[in-house]
Symmetry: C2
DNA sequence: TAGATTGTTAATCGATTAACAATC
DNA sequence: TAGATTGTTAATCGATTAACAATC
């Protein structure tokens, strides 16, 4: 029995592939801004430092987006990659912990261009509660659960000290959100229906230190 | 002819391994704080969500740090992993671009505990130059080269908008530093004697978006 | 048509997992 | 000694690279 053309094949879609998609998206947006209509895997690769074969393989695992002998239509490919990444819709996000990092993230312009709406900020410090960061009012963490539900927040960003991270994660999960972006340098336990991405900044710096040390 | 015990073997030391070392280091420091003397790969793995086999393999690629039937001495292993990562010395670092992100990084407490000394901040905005962030004075980017040399800065952190990142990188390289930690969402070209680590925050968030979108 | 470039299969490379001998 | 746990080799799994037919 033949597989229908639309059937998902057993292609890669590996973690590595998914981590490269945002890079493709970023570069396609740039190309779009430059007024480029068509781009080849060769040119995409040159701009990103990735081999053209890799790019074609990555894209082909999600569908046939290109035209043989021609290349990829920038607008079309950007829309397709955006659809795959879920960036062509709007996600409501919240930041918990409005310290220096929380403030920096609240002001992060890329969120907006990627379709993320910052709809709530939380902190427990009375001096911070009630202030505004990037036009969003800081709420008391005590009210986290009701506000997350009310404002239909799907993604929570943890920017509190490591010692409080698990507790905050528990509250976020309890409030029913879908994903957590964790900046606290600690392993957080969540039910496996919740997607978690860890962003431990000390890894990047340590890796740099390693490579400089070893010549 | 027998290989001397000290000879480097052809073991992995893969990128993946090196990226896990900082996690081991972090967990060992925590264990040390808890007063734990000896830890098994089993327990380390439990705390990190990594298999014990993986941990033993990673560590064994750098030497024999454990005791069969016993485990690893926490202090000793932490020192060894720190040595490998180059964290048991002091690196002088500078941040270029004192916007929200630059300020957050300047206040990042983990730098200190990892042995990084923040010795310079740079910006081009006259309103920012001369102010102090976490006790460090902000200098004019114009003087970057001479200050980087003078203060023996080995690592530079780029926290400027994407459009200026390459230009800043060129100046840093010209000043003779060894490594760059790049937060600008753009590919930077440097000579291959310079190690560069890219920290594109939109990747983490896009990856989260992808996984939530696909059920 | 000739040249260009994709999509896909096969070959290679690298990383993880399993198994177990060595040994504390 | 018996039990525990490392370090290492072999087996498996996954990801990248190479090659090329399909086709614009």
């Amino acid at each position: 029995m033949k597989q229908p053309a639309s059937a998902k094949n057993s292609n890669s879609k590996s973690k590595a592939t998914i981590d490269r998609l945002p890079l493709y998206f970023r570069t396609l947006r740039l190309a779009q801004d430059e007024g480029i209509d068509i781009i080849s895997s060769e040119e995409l690769g040159r701009r990103l430092g990735i081999t053209p074969e890799q790019i074609r393989k990555d894209l082909a695992s999600f569908g046939q987006f290109g035209k043989k002998g021609v290349g990829y239509y920038v607008n079309e490919l950007k829309r397709n990659v955006g659809d795959i990444l879920g960036l062509n819709r709007h996600w409501n996000i919240a930041i918990v912990g409005i310290g220096h990092l929380g403030v920096a993230l609240a002001n992060f312009q890329n969120f907006v261009t990627l379709g993320f709406n910052l709809v709530a900020l939380f902190d427990q410090d009375p001096n911070v509660i009630g202030t505004r960061v990037n036009h969003v009012k800081v709420e008391d963490t005590k009210n986290l659960k009701s506000i997350v539900k009310e404002r239909r927040i799907q993604i929570g960003i943890i920017a509190v000290p490591a010692a409080f991270a698990q507790e905050v994660a528990d509250q976020l999960v309890d409030a029913g959100l879908r994903g957590i972006w964790n900046f606290a340098p600690v392993k957080i336990e969540v039910p496996d229906t919740i997607k978690i991405v860890n962003e431990d900044l000390s890894i990047g710096l340590s890796s740099l230190s390693y490579h400089i040390t070893h010549e």
